[in-house]
């Protein structure tokens, strides 16, 4: 491998056949180039999908109730099921070990919010302090709700960034008062949300204040939790599914709901959704690898093909070398080295071109589902490894043939 003479031979033969070398290089380089670009985009899709989910915590569970659709134990269908604060407390207590963040909520859907002469329709949610983490909200000014806001049912409000721009025209709203249905709330914070404008047009008030101010009593519209993300995604998913099953069972027992009534209690398990999308991403990734590897194989077969032609063309030369005392191994080494060199060189060229394209085009791509397409170092290393293997494969058969050439046949005068 490190024999200078051997390298000279390789360069000599390659430069003697420039067109042939160039064509071979192009076939391998394009294979690697395509693989890298495909892999870059598959990671871009992965990033895009991850971003989509980052509007809420990926491990979010939310539970809400509706009317029953099935009669059960003498009760008629169509009965409205209403969660109470005690239900939230029960769930929190019974499953304490399996819950990370928790919040019992009471929301008023669209509500007109006034500030001086400005007004807008926003979604008012009565929530608990943990809700900040369940929603992935980022506080940019002031603070989020805290325990004492809840306990004392303070009339305070945290507004989304969109509310700030619309009602306050970008001025800091901290300490200002807004009114919802005539009730004054003091702005204590502004938040950003990765979910974008839709989520940033929410406003949050303490759940207790919401219940008091808007006739809620001790009713709860929905309960939101997150499960701890310990271990793998699959473990977390399993845990969350067990948790959902347990909570659903308890609530159905308590409110006498048919066990097979799927409409009465709705549980959204973000993790389950995420898992589905991630497995889709995995499939896309696998397909891309498959296509990429296929392209490389096509390139490698091309190299192998050309090496066979080279061996055929050099039959006489190889015969001369053998007659002069070349060992079969040295002939094999010569052919193999040539093929590995060609695949390595052109493959690296394709690799760099592919990475360059991703680097150049990646940042300009503005699409919800593709973000920051890139190839990490390990993947690049893997492709280089594949290249060496491929080069060896491509060269092996021709090299073996070359070693088998009998000098007597090669030297026969035509």
């Amino acid at each position: 491998m490190f024999d200078i003479e051997r390298w000279q031979e390789v360069f000599e033969t390659l430069s003697k056949n420039k067109l042939r070398t160039a064509l071979t290089c192009i076939s391998v380089a394009s294979g690697i180039f395509i693989l890298i670009v495909l892999l870059g985009f598959s990671s871009g899709i992965q990033n895009g999908v991850k971003d989509q989910f980052s509007s809420d915590a990926t491990n979010k569970l939310s539970i809400r109730t509706r009317s029953t659709t099935k009669g059960y134990k003498g009760l008629n269908p169509g009965r409205n099921i209403q969660l109470k604060m005690e239900d939230f407390i029960d769930v929190s207590r019974n499953y304490d070990d399996y819950l990370e963040y928790r919040s019992g909520n009471y929301s008023i859907w669209g509500s007109l919010i006034n500030y001086k002469n400005e007004s807008g329709n926003f979604r008012v949610q009565g929530v608990m302090p943990d809700f900040q983490f369940i929603e992935n909200a980022d506080i940019s000014e002031g603070r989020f709700l805290n325990e004492s806001d809840i306990n004392e049912a303070k009339k305070v409000i945290v507004v989304g960034n969109k509310v700030k721009t619309e009602l306050f025209k970008g001025k800091s709203p901290l300490g200002e008062y807004v009114s919802i249905y005539g009730i004054q709330f003091k702005v204590i914070g502004v938040f950003f949300d990765p979910g974008g404008e839709r989520e940033e047009s929410n406003v949050y008030i303490p759940v207790t204040s919401a219940q008091k101010a808007f006739n809620g009593g001790d009713r709860v519209r929905d309960m939101a939790f997150t499960v701890p993300m310990s271990g793998s995604l699959n473990e977390a998913l399993e845990l969350s599914e067990d948790l959902v099953a347990g909570i659903e069972y308890d609530l159905k027992q308590k409110y006498i709901i048919a066990p097979d009534d799927i409409a009465a209690i709705r549980v959204d398990n973000t993790l389950e959704e995420a898992k589905k999308i991630y497995s889709l991403v995995d499939i896309i990734r696998a397909v891309f690898w498959f296509v990429g590897i296929g392209t490389i194989i096509a390139g490698v077969v091309g190299v192998g093909n050309i090496m066979i032609i080279i061996v055929k063309e050099r039959t006489k030369e190889i015969g001369i070398r053998k007659a002069l005392g070349a060992q079969p191994l040295s002939i094999i080494g010569m052919i193999l080295q040539e093929s590995i060199f060609v695949t390595m060189f052109s493959g690296l060229f394709g690799l760099i071109a592919g990475l360059g394209l991703l680097e150049l085009v990646g940042p300009t791509i503005d699409n919800d589902f593709i973000k920051y397409p890139q190839v990490d170092f390990n993947t690049a290393l893997t492709t280089v490894f594949i290249l060496v293997i491929a080069g060896t494969f491509a060269g092996f058969l021709p090299a073996y043939r070359a070693a088998k050439i009998k000098p007597i046949i090669a030297l026969r005068d035509e």
């Binding site: 200078i4 003479e5 000599e12 033969t13 003697k16 006489k316 030369e317 001369i320 070398r321 053998k322 007659a323 002069l324 005392g325 070349a326 060992q327 079969p328 191994l329 040295s330 009998k406 000098p407 007597i408 030297l411 005068d413």
Partner: protein, 233 residues
Amino acid sequence: MIQIKDLHKSYKMGSNSLHVLKGINFNVEEGELVSIMGSSGSGKSTLLNILGMLDEADEGSYTLDGVPIKNLNERVAAKYRNKFLGFIFQSFNLINYKSALDNVALPLYYQKMPRKERMDRAFHYLEKVGLAEWSHHLPSELSGGQKQRVAIARALASDPKVLLADEPTGALDSKTSHEVMELIQGINDEGKTILIVTHEPDIAQMTKRIVNLKDGIIIDDHKVEQIRASQYV
């Protein structure tokens, strides 16, 4: 130098077997210049191939410089060829993308001689055949006679025991043929054992001994008065 006893060789041609060599016995002493003659199909090339370890006999023994040549695997055959033999071919068989000097140095490369020494030695032999100033030319830039002289230099480079020449003048006009023969005679004068396969009687007359082959057996083997090629040049 060479002892051959009862050598047989046949080739399979489909279902038929072609008996090419039917019991060859002959010895060559050190320093001899022998020509092997015969019409085509007489088995002279087969004999040379066996002598050159490019082919193996079916029967009989072959001893080269005291070493029995038998049941060689490819690796050993390659080693012996490199060490014992120098080949000169009718069609020169130079590697066309290597310079004259690199061609001459090739057997030494396979002896794993260091580059500097190898190039010095190759240049020395090119000088010897009178092509020192052509050392960096490719074979395509040389005339037929020059190419054959490069090939002779290459055959000599590894300092072999025996030179085997297969129709060395077959592709050359008579003037160049005589020049090449003069060179071969000169090398023989220095004590090198040389075997030449030829079908040209005038070339055979320039050797010291003529072996005549017909239908796979030696029909005649006699010493001749050597005609010096220099008198034609």
